[in-house]
């Protein structure tokens, strides 16, 4: 079996694993199902690594599924491209899925009856969807895997059906993402009408052959396809689903959503632009630069501001993911191989760090039944090791060398220019500071404790006037609301309600009972993830691989040549390395984060939030209609920017 032939297995093996888990779910004990899931996801990851190492320095294997290798330049089949970026991301996805499976060993002691393997099976399906998305060289096939990722992600987000908020967040996620997916499909239809092709490379070649250049049809096609990807990447104003989904999803699912699925949107944009639209018949580099810059900067700023305002820890981390996605898009707007390398390093390290941070929050949730910053104040003193991990994660987000995030940030700053450097330092400092502030409050008890005991403010009267309520549920709902202690809550009507905020208290722990100490499986997974984030910055052997992957990703003609069967090696750019200026800027960002976190308890331990950010907070209304309206407006904006 050649390296090419093996490529489809990266999708087929997890799918088969999921089918077996579901099929045998009635007879499998929980433990066997978990171990089997681990073996399948880990095995898939190992396969990706073997393929990656086997293709060292070369453009990588290209497989026409079912043997439909084209004769004479144009074929009918689907192509899988195992280049550095695709295989590398497949390995990253598999590593994170494996970590999430280890982490969830003690989770969900009540799987659906007769379905012991349901949760691992869903994770394996998610892995297959993501691997398919990164490997495929066909636009419609990418849409199929995009939808597979989406469907599984909605189900995973709503996994804890007993929680009122979980099902709501999952539904919002489903609506916005599906709408984005359909916009993508409309774009695919337009591009097919023009070119009569569906492959990234084939469409690109057809566009280049028609000498007309990018007219309204091509730019609209690009805008529509990009809409779906930007929804996935949670770029402003398509981002509203992300905090809602992350607030309610089980912790291992948050790890996967924030760690890699959202970033696949960024990858998708990069792949789409360079493989298809970077030629003379596509979208001009100036237009693409402008779109990515506007999207990136606005996303980064909004993410940082909103991150700072949160008290729900998962939501705080969710907004930090938005901020970092904004940074990735900003760096990508330089459209150079160096920028792609920087984003690659940043993205891989961020995946480990962010997943580890979610892991820490999951431990807090299971120990205390809350992820609310104020309610947890000082209660984490006993979880010293988790506190250290959480603080290290915060420092890594801020950009403390030698974490990989710091290296990635330095490389991105270098590639994106001085103006962007200010943004990178500020945004990473603010998101890092938000995590550090929480770490100091929760694990050290720094700052003032919250004023007075949180009182219950049953908001059922506001929300469901006259509605029938299930007694069992209303008790839980009352508990959900305590902590919203501003006293405005009794005002009626949705617009007059008090602080627009989501507290993190009264959450259902995800384990059977509250854990007395953090389970080893959780700590092992969390530590390994953080170590992964560190390794990206400390293991120079990884860097040439990342540079090679970025070179392949950012070369239009090399991609076309690889698909059409005459692979050429793109000119190799220098492997990334630490520079003094980058280290100094990283240290500056870390210092800023520490200063901000130090002053923070005085600012936020009280009950009032910054008034100036209130309109922005109101915008995140939790209302599906608002989010859809913003998504449609975002599509129009995208088209406008491309004119």
């Amino acid at each position: 079996m050649t390296a090419e032939r093996v490529l489809p297995l990266l999708v087929a093996v997890p799918l088969l694993g999921a089918a077996l888990l579901v099929g045998a779910g009635r007879w499998l004990p929980r433990y066997t199902a978990d171990v089997f899931g681990l073996l399948v996801s880990g095995g898939t990851g190992a396969l990706a690594v073997v393929e990656l190492v086997g293709a060292r320095g070369e453009p990588g294997p290209v497989e026409w599924v079912a043997g439909w290798r084209p004769e004479g330049g144009s074929g009918v089949g689907i192509v899988l491209v195992g280049d550095g970026a695709g295989l590398g991301l497949a390995a990253l996805i598999s590593a994170l899925v494996t970590a999430a499976l280890v982490y969830s060993r003690r989770f969900f002691d009540e799987p659906p009856p007769g379905q012991a393997g349901a949760f691992p099976a869903l994770l394996l399906l998610f892995q297959a969807g993501m691997c398919g998305f990164v490997l495929t060289g066909d636009l419609f096939n990418a849409f199929v895997f995009f939808e597979l990722m989406g469907v599984i992600a909605y189900a995973l987000t709503g996994y804890r059906v007993e929680e009122a908020r979980a099902v709501q967040g999952a539904l919002t996620f489903g609506f916005v993402n599906s709408l984005g997916g359909y916009a993508t499909l409309l774009g695919i239809g337009l591009l097919y009408a023009r070119t009569g092709e569906l492959g990234f490379a084939q469409i690109g070649a057809a566009l280049d052959a028609a000498a007309g250049g990018g007219d309204a049809l091509v730019t609209t096609g690009f805008a529509l396809v990009a809409t779906g990807l930007l929804v996935k990447a949670a770029a402003v104003p398509f981002h509203f689903w992300l905090p809602d989904a992350h607030s309610v999803a089980p912790t291992p699912v948050c790890m996967l959503l924030s760690g890699v699925m959202v970033e696949l949107g960024v990858y998708g944009i990069a792949r789409l632009y360079w493989a298809t639209f970077a030629g003379p018949g596509g979208v001009s580099a100036a237009d693409a630069h402008w779109v990515l810059l506007v999207q990136g900067v606005s996303t980064a700023v909004l993410g940082a501001v909103m991150c700072w305002q949160q008290r729900h820890l998962k939501r705080l981390l969710a907004f930090s993911t938005i901020a970092h996605t904004g940074l990735f898009l900003t760096a990508l707007s330089a459209l150079t191989p160096e920028a792609a390398t920087g984003v690659g390093v940043y993205l891989v390290a961020h995946a480990g760090v962010k997943a580890a941070l979610f892991g820490c929050v999951g431990v807090l949730l299971d120990r205390f039944g809350s992820v609310d910053e104020r309610e947890l104040h000082g209660r984490g003193r006993e979880l010293r090791f988790v506190g250290v991990l959480f603080a290290l994660g915060g420092l890594a987000l801020a950009g403390l060398p030698p974490f990989g995030t710091a290296l990635g940030k330095a490389l991105c700053e270098e590639a994106a220019g001085p103006g962007a450097t200010v943004l990178f330092v500020a945004v990473s400092a603010v998101t890092g500071a938000a995590v550090l502030r929480t770490a100091a409050g929760v694990f050290l008890g720094a700052g003032q404790p919250p004023a007075g005991p949180p009182h219950f403010a049953p908001r059922a009267a506001v929300r469901g006037e006259g509605k029938e309520q299930r007694p069992g549920a209303s008790e839980r709902r009352g508990a959900d609301e305590f902590g919203t202690s501003d006293g405005h809550d009794t005002a009626s009507g949705p617009e007059q309600e008090g602080e627009p905020e989501t507290t993190g208290s009264g959450e259902e722990p995800e384990t059977a009972g509250p854990v007395t100490r953090a389970p080893d499986s959780m700590l092992v997974a969390t530590t390994a993830l953080l170590a992964g984030g560190l390794a990206v910055g400390c293991v120079p052997a990884l860097w040439p691989h990342l540079a090679h992957a970025a070179d392949g990703l950012s070369d239009h003609s090399a991609y076309l040549a690889a698909v059409f069967g005459s692979p050429e090696t793109p000119p190799a750019s220098a492997a990334p390395s630490w520079r003094v200026s980058g280290v100094l800027l990283d240290l500056l960002a870390t210092l800023l984060a520490l200063v901000l976190a130090r002053t923070a308890p005085r600012i936020t331990a009280g009950t009032r939030r910054a008034a100036w950010a209130r309109p922005l907070r109101r915008l995140h209304s939790g209302h599906v209609g608002d989010y859809v309206a913003c998504t449609v407006a975002g599509m129009a904006l995208l088209g406008l920017l491309l004119r």
């Binding site: 099929g23 079912a66 597979l148 469907v151 059906v161 309206a629 407006a633 129009a636």
Partner: protein
């Protein structure tokens, strides 16, 4: 956002998207034109592989990897629905009530049940020859079973379709598609490659791997639709709040 602001944002957005669409649609090739390069190639490839229904050839041979993802979506959505609609901690099951059915309805449904089942199986089996295939035929088969719910009541349907068996069949159909692909790979060709004898054009045994993949999809779709509908029917007819009264 209050309603007025939302409508403004939406209105501006829709206007902008409409302008985008208008600009793009005017540049489209003429409606009904004869320039379909991929389509022409797909027709030639299907005829070459002795598959009379070109759409089936595209779905199960030329772009069978799309269908792989598609059936994974179906499988995942059914699993997701089973998970989301599982019996929650605060719910209990009650036996469904017997229903009174008008004799004409019962008679009609009982007569059309075997006919529908037959039509469904025919559509699955002839996917490579005539419009239809595993997806369409599978749904018809699932519909046939549910005619029992119309003809008798939910308890009769529950006796006829044990959900665990159909969940197993769903997983089996999904696995069969993958295992067929893997078997080809192990035999030395590409994953999902069409290496079987192609048979005589326009006969039941033509198209190589197409009828086999079609059958796998047919099993999966029929079973998936049954499991999916069972979740929703259970919600409507069997699950009640633990502390609630019998409906």
């Amino acid at each position: 956002m209050n309603k007025a602001v939302r409508l403004w944002v939406l209105g501006v957005g829709c206007a902008g998207v409409a302008v985008l669409f208008a600009g793009a649609f005017r540049r489209l090739p003429e409606f009904g034109g004869s320039h379909h390069p991929y389509g022409a190639r797909a027709v030639a490839a299907a005829l070459h592989r002795h598959t009379a229904n070109v759409v089936s050839s595209v779905n199960f041979d030329q772009r069978s990897f799309d269908t792989l993802g598609e059936q994974a979506i179906l499988f995942g959505a059914v699993l997701g629905t089973v998970v989301v609609l599982r019996q929650a901690k605060d719910e209990r099951r009650v036996p469904p009530e017997p229903a009174v059915v008008a004799p004409t309805v019962r008679g009609y449904a009982l007569v059309s049940l075997p006919l529908t089942l037959l039509v469904g199986l025919y559509v699955v089996a002839h996917g490579q020859l005539s419009p239809g295939g595993g997806f369409q035929g599978g749904l018809v088969v699932a519909t046939a079973l549910h005619l029992l719910y119309v003809a008798v009541d939910y308890r009769a349907l529950e006796r006829l379709r044990p959900v665990p068996v159909f969940a197993l069949a769903d997983a089996f159909g999904d696995a069969a598609y993958l295992l067929l692909g893997l078997a080809v790979l192990v035999a030395g060709a590409s994953f999902l490659g069409n290496v079987l004898p192609l048979g005589t054009f326009n006969t039941l045994a033509s198209g190589g791997i197409v009828p086999l993949l079609n059958a796998a999809i047919g099993i999966e779709v029929a079973a998936a639709a049954v499991v999916l509908l069972a979740q929703f029917l259970d919600q409507a007819l069997e699950l009640v709040p633990r502390d609630g009264e019998h409906r």
